[in-house]
């Protein structure tokens, strides 16, 4: 019964990650790519993402989004304070780093805006990616610490179990030893 509950929780986690890491970014990129802002007189403000290389951005979003969603399923479905939950959440953070970096190497952090009659503006969000990667480093350190904590807790539990269980005073058939 507990297993089914865990699996259900995993599917919820997976759905959240699919929406936030795949659907919303892809729809946003699609929307911004197709967006046309009319500028009077009779001109259009063109926003250029990833130097027109939007397909590469989408490929990496889907590819790494799938990996992240799979790992999220595993992480969310694992029982609390278990080693596998922490190990897989660490793998999830590592994959998140790749996901974030994919924005950079596919050129999605570069936004070019052409303003008719005035020139063009380029926005580079690469610095923000570095900032997030730094934050992820701290998360990884926290996860390692948590793993050590759980490991120590498990060992303590095992020791307590050994002390707790008294030697049986009865034989297997119920008679006195």
């Amino acid at each position: 019964m507990g297993g089914m509950k865990n699996i259900f929780r995993g599917f919820i986690g997976m759905a959240i990650y699919i929406i936030t890491f795949m659907l919303i970014p892809i729809l946003t990129f699609d929307f911004v790519d197709n967006m046309e802002i009319p500028v009077p007189p009779d001109q259009i403000l063109n926003i250029d993402i990833a130097k027109g290389n939007i397909d590469v951005v989408k490929f990496w979003l889907i590819a790494l989004g799938l990996m992240i969603s799979g790992l999220a399923f595993f992480t969310w479905s694992s029982p609390r304070n278990s080693r596998r939950k922490i190990v897989f959440s660490m793998l999830l953070v590592f994959t998140n780093c790749f996901y974030l970096w994919s924005y950079k190497f596919s050129g999605a952090t570069l936004f070019g805006i052409e303003i008719p009659g005035l020139g063009s503006v380029t926005l580079d969000f690469a610095e923000m990616v570095m900032l997030y990667l730094g934050a992820y480093t701290l998360i990884i350190i926290a996860k390692i610490w948590k793993l050590i904590e759980v490991e120590i807790g498990k060992r303590k539990e095992k020791k307590e179990e050994k002390v707790y269980i008294p030697d049986s005073t009865f034989g297997k058939d119920g008679g006195a030893v």
């Binding site: 507990g2 399923f73 119920g174």
Partner: protein, 115 residues
């Protein structure tokens, strides 16, 4: 509308301040992360072809493994056993005369007295 813009600006300024002050600490960490990510990506580009099906297979394998593992090891058995043991311990009857556990039996297996 004006209120909405003001709130958005406040949020943007707040986030901007956090980023501005944490930049000095976090960006060097990010630079270190960049090194290993670049190295791994280099290997990925060499050995893994750019096909979505590979990632889809990994996704499916992870889900199936997750389902199987959680079905067989839900991570609750030990706790349950412990609770059962704790519940049994205090209710176990003891001999009136020698104080040793006698379980459900009427006679003490140690001193032989009737309880």
């Amino acid at each position: 509308m004006i209120l909405q813009v003001d709130i958005l600006r406040m949020i943007a300024e707040f986030i901007g301040t956090i980023f501005y002050y944490s930049r000095a600490v976090l960006t060097p960490f990010g630079e270190v992360m960049k090194l290993w990510i670049d190295a791994v990506l280099g290997l990925m580009n060499q050995y893994i072809p750019m096909e979505i099906s590979i990632y889809a297979i990994i996704f499916v394998v992870l889900i199936i493994c997750g389902v199987i593992i959680n079905y067989h090891w839900p991570g609750e058995k030990k706790g349950k056993e412990k609770k059962e043991k704790k519940e049994i311990e205090p209710s176990a009857d003891k001999c009136k005369y020698c104080g040793k556990p006698i379980g459900d039996s009427e006679f003490c297996p140690y001193c032989g007295s009737r309880n």
